[in-house]
């Protein structure tokens, strides 16, 4: 329990840091932030937009601390400001449309790659210098060296554009509307997801496999493994319940950091496939200099990553009894 509380405190600090960075950045801009933003939209902003922008930033002549207070207060009410590009939709509404797709794509791809990578790592370490152990690590390292979105470009060009095996863009067929009850819709979603998810899995699986393999190799030389062998336990039991369970722990810990990294890559992958997730919104925000949307995306993605990490910590407590004290 103390472990979880400590982690909770850490996430609170991380959330506060990102909130504060988000608050200070526009104010660190050379010159007055408000006029700089307004200048970029000369003639394009309506009075109510300027008002909402001011409000969103809490920009006023009040002292900085007071501005910070108003900023925190409006955030706590879930007000992230109004998107310039999708005016007059509030940032939260814009983001929530993309959120589901990103969670679906990046979440599923991460879970698959974590699971597959660890299983491959376990087998690789168990049959050391076997075919899997000598072929997979260098190959996956090479693939992992490509930027995620470049893999996506290649896959899109060869498998979707040239071969025509997969749809070219979007998360579901244009002819369908969102309806999770119908089988054709779900089929369409799956067929649209295979390529982007495959690229993310391919690019991120190498890290999990190598991490697992290296820890597993170390653990296999521990005395308790020899003891288990001597007791004549079944190989499967030694492999999974004795060695893999312990070797998994460092990988679970690094899951948090990897999550942010994988998410960054998957945002760019989404852009290639015109997948309607957060990456696509991020591109829109950058193209249109939609600062409120950009900042909202930053905060929301950060909070999502922190939340996912908390879930992983709970999983960790379940995996490692030593943390339960």
């Amino acid at each position: 329990m103390r472990f979880l509380l400590r982690r909770l405190g850490f996430y609170a600090v991380a959330a506060w840091v990102s909130l504060t960075v988000n608050f200070y950045l526009p104010r660190l801009m050379p010159g007055d932030p408000a006029s700089a933003i307004f200048a970029r939209f000369q003639g394009k902003l309506r009075p109510e937009e300027i008002d909402s922008l001011r409000k969103a930033y809490g920009l006023s002549d009040a002292p900085l601390l007071e501005q910070y207070g108003t900023y925190l207060k409006s955030l706590s009410r879930g007000e992230f400001g109004i998107s310039i590009n999708f005016f007059p939709a509030p940032v939260t509404t814009v983001i929530s449309t993309g959120f589901m797709w990103t969670i679906l794509l990046a979440g599923l791809a991460t879970v698959i790659s974590f699971f597959l990578g660890n299983v491959l790592g376990i087998i690789g370490a168990w049959r050391r210098n076997g075919i899997l152990d000598s072929v997979a690590p260098p190959l996956l390292t090479f693939i992992g060296a490509f930027p995620y979105f470049f893999l996506a470009m290649i896959a899109l060009y060869f498998l979707a554009f040239q071969a025509g095996w997969f749809p070219l863009r979007h998360a579901y067929s244009d002819a369908l509307s969102v309806n999770w009850g119908s089988l054709t819709f779900i089929k369409s979603v799956v067929s649209h997801m295979i390529l982007p998810a495959g690229c993310i899995v391919l690019a991120s699986i190498g890290g999990w496999m190598l991490g697992m393999r290296n820890t597993m190799v170390g653990i296999l030389s521990e005395d308790y493994i020899t003891m288990a062998q001597a007791k004549g336990l079944s190989q499967k039991r030694i492999m999974f319940s004795y060695a893999a369970r312990n070797a998994l722990l460092p990988n679970v810990t690094s899951f948090g950091m990897a999550l942010g990294f994988v998410l960054s890559g998957s945002l760019l992958t989404e852009i290639i496939f015109a997948y309607p997730g957060l990456g696509y919104l991020l591109l829109q925000a950058v193209r249109n200099l939609d600062y409120p949307l950009m900042q909202g995306l930053f905060l929301m993605i950060t909070f999502a990553v922190l939340g996912a990490n908390l879930l992983v910590d709970i999983l960790y407590v379940w995996l490692d009894p030593r943390t339960r004290r």
């Binding site: 600090v13 925000a285 990553v305």
Partner: protein, 334 residues
């Protein structure tokens, strides 16, 4: 007094095997490095790209931004149809009629210099923070470690985006922003290394003999971390090259400059994929991947050379012929 275990191990092995070149025997780490296949692979790929970048004016003379094909016909703002590779243009032309090969060669300059400078800068910042945290301990360590971990957990790309968007676009901004987000990993590695070094006797000896803290840090601790230092520099460079490409791809750098990232940005913007112009993005991606791969290989090699445990594993598994499910406890052979 100052010898680390790794140094003694290497020098022991160099005594047993005589080299033809005596001057190399004096540099056991360098010799191990030259003999390592991964290291040589990484170094030669990297050397190739650095030479290409340096010799750009001779390899592909001319302005990389010049619109070559049909430039005299169409005004600059009308997109050109990209042409595949041929005799005039080795790798074809882009959607704006620019020579892909020439852009690739000139783009190496900006991409590699951004990557390398971020690699060096973030490692130096990370080392200073990691050293301070690890050596001083106490509340300084608590605060610096907290900061490091917070930086590590905040997802990189969205943070990079808002940082880059609020600042003036350009290579200097990119280097600054990438250093600001990239120092945390080296700091963490350095800190844990310092923690293990601090417990060593030779540090205790220099503390007792009255050396000042900065001197202990820089002339006792730091020299013994050179391999970790180089390792995290290489790792940071890989990160920087990838993140730079990602930022450029989103259009957050000055897209008027020629770098590998902006090449991909224009390929995507001119719908290079959906018009079938694969030559506008495939060569670029391969160059990026080759550089990242070379650096990763270099890091693995460094690990193998300086980490006695990995070496022991290699030695035991080489002698073992009967594989199968029988497990052998790796033991370092003397």
């Amino acid at each position: 007094m100052q010898a680390t275990p790794e140094k003694t191990l290497v020098s022991k092995s160099s005594e047993t095997t005589k080299t033809a070149r005596p001057w190399l025997a004096r540099w056991p780490l360098l010799r191990a490095f030259l003999r390592n296949r991964k290291a040589m692979l990484g170094v030669s790929i990297l050397f190739f790209f650095i030479m290409v970048a340096l010799l750009a004016p001779w390899i592909a003379p001319g302005n990389p931004k010049k619109m070559e094909s049909r430039a005299h016909l169409a005004p600059a703002w009308i997109a050109d149809t990209p042409a595949p590779g041929g005799k005039t243009f080795l790798l074809g032309t882009t959607g704006q009629g620019q020579d892909v090969f020439r852009q690739l060669v000139w783009g190496a300059r900006l991409s590699l210099s951004v990557g390398l400078s971020v690699g060096i800068a973030s490692t130096i910042v990370g080392t200073i923070i990691g050293l301070t945290a690890g050596y001083l301990g106490g509340w300084v360590d608590d605060i610096l470690s907290l900061l490091t971990n917070v930086m590590l957990i905040i997802p990189g790309m969205p943070l990079l985006v808002i940082l880059a968007a609020f600042l003036k676009p350009g290579p200097v901004t990119v280097v600054m922003v990438l250093t600001l987000t990239g120092w945390a990993w080296p700091a963490r590695v350095m800190r844990s290394q310092v923690l293990s070094l601090r417990a060593k006797d030779f540090i205790a000896a220099s503390v007792v003999s009255g050396e000042r803290t900065p001197r202990i840090l820089f002339s006792e601790v730091l020299p013994n971390m050179s391999s970790v230092f180089v390792g995290s520099m290489v790792g940071s460079t890989v990160y920087a090259i990838g993140a730079d490409v990602g930022l450029a791809f989103l259009g957050l750098t000055n897209v008027g400059t020629t770098s590998w990232g902006t090449m991909l940005y224009w390929a995507q913007n001119n719908a290079g994929i959906l018009t079938g112009a694969w030559w506008t993005f495939v060569p670029t991606g391969i160059c990026i991947a080759l550089c990242a791969f070379a650096l990763t290989m270099l890091n693995y090699a460094l690990d193998e050379i300086t980490n006695p445990r990995l070496r022991a594993e290699k030695e035991t598994t080489h002698g073992k012929r009967n594989r199968g499910n029988v497990l052998v406890t790796p033991v370092i052979r003397k």
